[in-house]
Symmetry: D2
Subunit: 226 residues, 4 copies
């Protein structure tokens, strides 16, 4: 069973690295599944759209899309229809990642569509203020990621702990049902432990694992101190 909302949660964003595209993407998803099974930690993967089916048909862990467009079925050539990623086996989607920021009206539209289709939504945000705004839309998760730390190797839990704590606090005021993830610069077991201590219920990460010399070892370390 794909328990996408059991926490602590690790979401591995495959981005558009060649190391996580096509056959490499499948390999990385299989490694993620192994670590999930060996450690019991809930790990989800977010590959590119063209890789969703390849991966969802081969692994048992939850698969998320990286993005969905705010369009309904019809004449929208090149856009990502929510129904298409669902039929390709995704159980949810990232929304508003810092590398593909969305209009407020479109974030609301896509979160509402995920609710209607019983999919999981992970709305990414850049600071406490936008996290509060995102929480009013009732997504499954808000993932706070200060953009200046993404891919930096400096963990948000260490560089700007007050942003994680502030986000947890304001979101719990607005809607205690919304879970908080944190991201940006996370790669080790210490980073993840710190993230959970600050009140988040998991992490969203990418390069720290994907570009590691040994992704399996890196992922195993990441979840070792939960």
């Amino acid at each position: 069973m794909k328990e996408i909302t059991r926490t602590p949660m690790v979401i591995l964003n495959f981005k558009t690295y060649l190391e996580s595209t096509g056959k490499n993407a499948l390999k990385l998803a299989e490694i993620s599944e192994e670590v999930a099974q060996e450690t019991g930690v809930n790990i989800a993967v977010a590959p590119q759209h063209a890789d969703l089916l390849r991966i969802s048909s081969e692994v048992e862990i939850p698969v998320l899309a990286q993005h969905v467009d705010a369009v309904d079925a019809g004449g929208h050539t090149g856009s990502v229809l929510l129904e298409s990623i669902k039929e390709a086996g995704a159980v949810g989607t990232l929304i508003n990642h810092s590398e593909i920021r969305m209009k407020l009206a479109d974030i609301q539209n896509v979160v509402a569509k995920t609710i209607e289709h019983q999919l999981v939504s992970v709305v990414c945000t850049n600071n406490v203020e936008t996290s509060a705004a995102a929480a009013t839309l009732q997504p499954t998760f808000v993932a706070i990621e200060p953009p200046e730390l993404i891919g930096s190797g400096i963990p948000v839990s260490q560089a700007e702990p007050e942003i994680v704590e502030g986000t947890v606090e304001v979101i719990h005021q607005i809607d205690p049902g919304v879970k908080v993830l944190c991201g940006a610069g996370i790669s080790t077991g210490d980073d993840m432990q710190a993230a959970l201590k600050l009140g988040s219920e998991g992490v969203l990460l990418a390069s720290g694992i994907i570009l590691a010399d040994d992704p399996k070892a890196a992922l195993t370390d990441l979840v070792s101190k939960i």
Copy 2:
């Protein structure tokens, strides 16, 4: 063999209709393959990104993506990497469709990447002037589609034949190696015949076939007067 550049050429754009998403997309691709085999006409299909692998692994006709983003491998969450659609079995891509217009610099970037990766490029344009500009970039095809006729049921070959003829003329001046397709409002054998008479080497179409009561009959009719 997937002879993507043999003309006359029919490209069926699946857009984001539910009738051409997921399992329905595969069914429509199989129908297209049947008609291609029965008639000998070169028919390609352009499904959504999440459906590329599902289709390319099941049919022998050429499969195109609907869009590729102007990004290189790396941190570009949610974007469509050319390498990802290639590994999912696409032999080329539509570029700059009227429903997802692109920046000039990005069109040039993606056309150059298709050349580097030996993929087919179909740059969509809206008038004679932008067709000329697109032709300087040396794509495989320029597909001229006056946007006001897209999905209208009024064929461009009848409503604005001078746009097709003007495009053919100006492109042949700039680079005779670039082939011209025409689209917008095309659905019948008469429309396609008229399009070829105006100097184009094929058509790009969508709703006229996808939303037809009997897509196979519609597609068979489309190619009946070549």
Copy 3:
């Protein structure tokens, strides 16, 4: 004195009509000033960026920009810097109008900059959900405008009163200091009266006045039943 936040408030959005560009914009601003003086109602005008200085230097009523980009001073050719509209005499700006929707992160950035520069912010929204999200950012006003009614001549206060009431209710829960305006289809004194009865503190409107045969008469009628 330019009392931009005294309610009830009327904001006349000049959009990009020729009837409200350049010299015509100044004329319309002068008419608006006359009606404000004759009736005592607080009327503000929102002309195009190139017309801000022309108007702010000639009339005493508040002048707003139609949009500001989320950029800081520097290398951002073609963008609208908040400091530039302030120096051109604007006392605030519309933000996220339905005709120029913005990313959530950018809305937050611009609202924060208006607060820092002591300018008025009017964040436009399309439904109750995005109004709630906008309210968490603490703008001066949230202007709820169902996009399907903009320019329709069908007043939102009549067609979808529950959207106005719902917005007023949810915003007062989140931050009672945020004032609610309503727009879309508003043009007569009855429309404005209905908008105020639903709990809004004013209106945002455009074509109903700008394209009227006699804008002064139309504006006078609009504020006649307050």
Copy 4:
């Protein structure tokens, strides 16, 4: 008389620096006018939209906008209507600057509108290929600026002379009536001299003058070796 197309031509892009906003923008335009009068070189300035009227009403040198949107008069809140910048005294506009890249269809639309309104168009491009595409649209100028050199202080005429020469060559093949400017990293008299030797008919520049300790001295030096 504002001889906007007499070459060699210097276009000073004010971008969104505070040093070239509002009253500072006027001061810089007056300095540019002085240098133009003292040296006889054709110097134009491109301030922000909100500063166009302030400057065009005070100086005799040509004033350009930094950007125009591809919209016609009507309901386009926040967009830059060509008619608005014309009425504010602009005699032309930059188009597709690297900091506000435009869709191909929109570049074509705006160039066509400048021709219709007898305004000057300066289409910025990033490489030889996009310069060729831009030239087919018959703008007054194509300004080639490799984006990686913008604001770098390394002049394109020295770092990548082949891009300037290649652009001059390809544009003269496509339409000898289109003049070539070059930009990126230009700040001294030597840079400008080199740019002209490579076949360009002038330069587009910004920070090298605007952020100079003594802008008048910097501008005088720039045009000293023509």
